[in-house]
């Protein structure tokens, strides 16, 4: 990994990294992660983007996921 570089390069890498974290934290990249998992571990067609998020939300809100 390169430590130093031109300022725009460093900035770009920083912004990319921050965007990656933000996507991971918010769940924005969950479908891409699911596709990677599916390609590795399962046969057949994966769920569509829409169906994947529908199932994910249904699972998230069927248990205690928020506190006081």
């Amino acid at each position: 990994m390169r430590i130093c570089g031109t300022l725009p390069g460093v900035l770009r890498r920083g912004v990319t990294a921050a965007a990656g974290w933000l996507r991971a934290l918010s769940g924005d990249d969950a479908y891409e992660r699911y596709l990677t998992h599916h390609a590795r571990a399962h046969e057949g067609a994966p769920l569509s983007r829409r169906d994947f998020y529908a199932r994910r939300e249904a699972a998230k809100w069927s248990g205690i996921s928020r506190c006081c």
Binding site: G27, R55, G63, C68
Partner: protein, 691 residues
């Protein structure tokens, strides 16, 4: 590392010393922040590390459920900072904002000390322990663990406790929102507007651009900020403002109707998108508040201790012991966290080594949120603080009478001062806005206003109200839904089809029952001339601490059963403390002869005045309902205490049998499997065969 520790201890000691020595002059909030950060760092670096390594025997070489059952959806090994974010967003609700604000009536010192000590030795330990125990049991819930490890009684107690606590928290939070909106067109418009905004975000996420969470949340944030501005525009409009100027009762009706509709609508339309908005607002506002407090370092105006430690405070009755420990649950110890720590989070943990950061660390951050709420409440002039937070039934409904009463306590305040403040905040009046949200919003607005520009105080105030309302309504939606599932689970024992979570008649019936239950407490709170929060919040606190005691009982039982009795004090001491404060508080709430504290005494007093005809007309009309409610609350408190002691005795029985070498229920821990040695990078995953 050792040098850092010594340095932290020294700075923490100096900061605490600073707080202790400045007893009779205003102190700077920075002393409190510094002491908090040092104590957290020491707790995390030394105590949490010791508990994780020695007491819980955290083993990074052991495969977690996320790795063993990886299915790409609910069981997913995830980077520890991502899980930290999810877990913090899940545990930190409005509780740590409201409790410390109410407890500020005792002065800033009791709340601060309890938040720091309670979190480091109690709440964080509970969260981390339950998290690890659940990780070791395939992510099983607290109720299931109680049933497996202690017996059917423990499981049933956890279920009933959770259901009751859910009903109470929703009612009291609904009351907080209603009190913020009453006769405030600006707040009402802004809070109402968040509903269609959430629905637009939901439609966007479902149909237009599925799963583009960041994009949809950004859109939603812009829209809610526009709603804050739009509320101001409506408020300035002479005709429109009258359309949204409502007293408490119809507003409570709206909240109940909203809760019922939200419970039966599909989650993607309202609940899920509202939650994305509330999470972004929560993290953003809390960060902004921390930055503003660091930049502004305001003076604390509230004394260290007020005369209300004797039990006659206007926000709620009861002496400092045990009531400061009941009022501040979230932020110090919150039993509810044990449900989250044994829910979604354990299924995401990639390595056991992460439980210290996620379990202990997230709770430290929540504790810090509570400290900031305490600072925001205590930097107000005490007279102003009491004028906003005292119910009309306590200080009188006429402003002149209220300021006279409050000034006579030694906290000078004038009608002009309150009018000027209300005008600055864009409100007609700030008197008797009980529940903590408005005074927190005034505190936050003055911090933000002084840091980022004075001109927008009224916008900051309504931004703060919107921020609190958005995640209070999220808790209300999510809580009603979880309550509905629990009720359906219970009802399925009566008639099996009622347990089918997607059968519409059962959905309608169970949602209606849950909404009716919290709607009842909300209604009583609204008609109570003392504000209602004074009764409901301590009841919620007792319920929450009871749940924490159940969680700590399960943890202690498991420690003893697994041959680690010599370390049992780690969970037994917080358990003993919570059992003590909860039992004493419950005893006083039921039995005290002082009508400000004792529910039965209050009911007797009110009945006598009703019979003698000495009550004025509006009070006389609602008195029979208040009397009935006070008796009901007394019974509920008794029920909580009974459940608590049954679980503790059951835990004691299991521990004694184990120590005497008699047979006990077997451990439900999943046997050791080696973890895959590859470290988990962000976005990377642990390779494994099949799922």
């Amino acid at each position: 590392m050792r040098i850092t520790g010594v340095l932290l201890a020294a700075i923490g000691a100096i900061a605490l010393g600073g707080i202790a020595l400045h007893r009779h002059e205003p102190i700077n909030a920075l002393w409190i922040v510094t002491a908090a950060v040092c104590i957290y760092a020491l707790g995390y670096r030394f105590y949490a590390a010791w508990v994780a390594a020695r007491v819980l025997s955290v083993d990074a070489s052991r495969a977690t459920p996320a790795e063993r059952h990886d299915n790409g959806r609910d069981f997913v090994p995830t980077h520890r900072w991502i899980v930290f974010g999810h877990h913090f967003a899940a545990i930190a609700g409005p509780g740590p904002l409201v409790g410390p604000t109410l407890a500020a009536q005792f002065g800033y010192l009791p709340g601060t000390l309890w938040i720091l000590v309670g979190a480091v030795l109690g709440g964080c330990v509970q969260d981390m322990t339950i998290l690890l125990l659940s990780v070791r049991r395939d992510g099983r819930s607290l109720g299931q663990m109680a049933r497996d490890e202690l017996g059917a009684l423990g499981g049933f107690a956890a279920l009933i406790g959770t259901l009751l606590i859910m009903i109470l928290i929703i009612a009291v939070l609904g009351l907080v929102v209603v009190n913020a909106m009453k006769h405030s067109p600006w707040s009402t418009v802004t809070v109402f507007a968040t509903v269609p905004v959430a629905m637009m975000v939901g439609l966007h996420l479902r149909h237009l651009r599925p799963g583009r969470i960041l994009e949809a949340s950004a859109l939603g944030l812009v829209l809610v900020l526009l709603a804050v501005w739009g509320g101001g525009w409506v408020d300035a409009h002479p005709l429109l403002r009258t359309v949204f100027d409502w007293p408490s009762l119809p507003l409570a009706g709206f909240v109940v109707a909203y809760g019922w509709i939200a419970a039966i609508l599909p989650v993607w339309l309202l609940l899920a998108p509202r939650d994305y908005l509330s999470t972004f607002l929560k993290v953003g506002t809390v960060t902004l508040l921390a930055v503003a407090i660091a930049l502004l370092h305001p003076e604390i105006r509230m004394p260290a201790l007020t005369s209300f430690v004797d039990g006659h405070g206007p926000l709620f009755g009861g002496k400092i012991f045990p009531f400061v420990f009941i009022t501040i649950a979230c932020g110090a110890v919150s039993g509810f966290h044990a449900l989250v720590a044994s829910g979604t989070t354990p299924k995401l943990i990639a390595s056991e080594a992460d439980v210290r950061l996620i379990g202990y660390g997230s709770m430290l951050l929540e504790s810090f949120v509570a400290i900031m709420a305490l600072i925001a409440a205590t930097l107000l002039d005490p007279g102003v603080f009491f004028a906003i937070n005292s119910g009309a039934g306590v200080v009188g409904s006429a402003p002149a009478v209220a300021v006279h009463t409050i000034s006579s306590w030694g906290f000078p305040v004038t009608v002009q001062q309150m009018q000027r403040l209300a005008h600055e905040m864009g409100e007609r009046t700030l008197f008797a806005r009980t529940g903590g949200a408005p005074s927190l919003a005034v505190g936050m607005a003055s911090i933000f206003g002084r840091t980022f520009g004075r001109g927008f105080l009224s916008v900051w105030y309504h931004f703060a109200i919107m921020f609190e309302a958005v995640f209070i309504l999220s808790t209300l939606d999510a809580g009603t839904r979880v309550g509905r599932f629990m009720l359906q689970d219970l009802l399925s024992h009566v008639w099996a089809p009622l347990g089918r979570t997607s059968w519409y008649p059962s959905v309608l019936l169970s949602s209606t029952l849950i909404v009716a239950a919290w709607g009842y407490f909300l209604y009583i709170g609204v008609i109570d001339p003392n504000g209602g929060v004074n009764i409901l919040w301590p009841l919620f606190g007792i319920a929450n601490q009871m749940l924490a005691a159940i969680a700590l009982s399960v943890a202690t039982g498991i420690l003893v059963k697994s041959g680690r009795a010599r370390y049992a004090a780690v969970t037994l001491l917080p358990l003993a403390w919570l059992a003590l404060v909860t039992t004493v508080a419950a005893w006083q709430k039921v039995m005290s002869a002082d009508p400000q504290i004792g529910l039965l005494a209050a009911a007797r007093g009110l009945s006598a005045r009703l019979a003698a005809g000495t009550l004025a007309e509006p009070a006389a009309a609602v008195a029979p309902q208040l009397i009935l409610n006070q008796r009901l609350d007394a019974w509920l408190t008794g029920l909580f205490t009974a459940i608590l002691w049954l679980v503790i005795l059951d835990m004691g029985r299991v521990c004694l049998r184990r120590l005497r070498g008699l047979p006990v229920a077997g451990s439900s821990e999943v046997p050791y499997q080696a973890a895959h040695p590859h470290p988990l990078a962000l976005g990377g995953r642990v390779p494994q065969e099949g799922a």
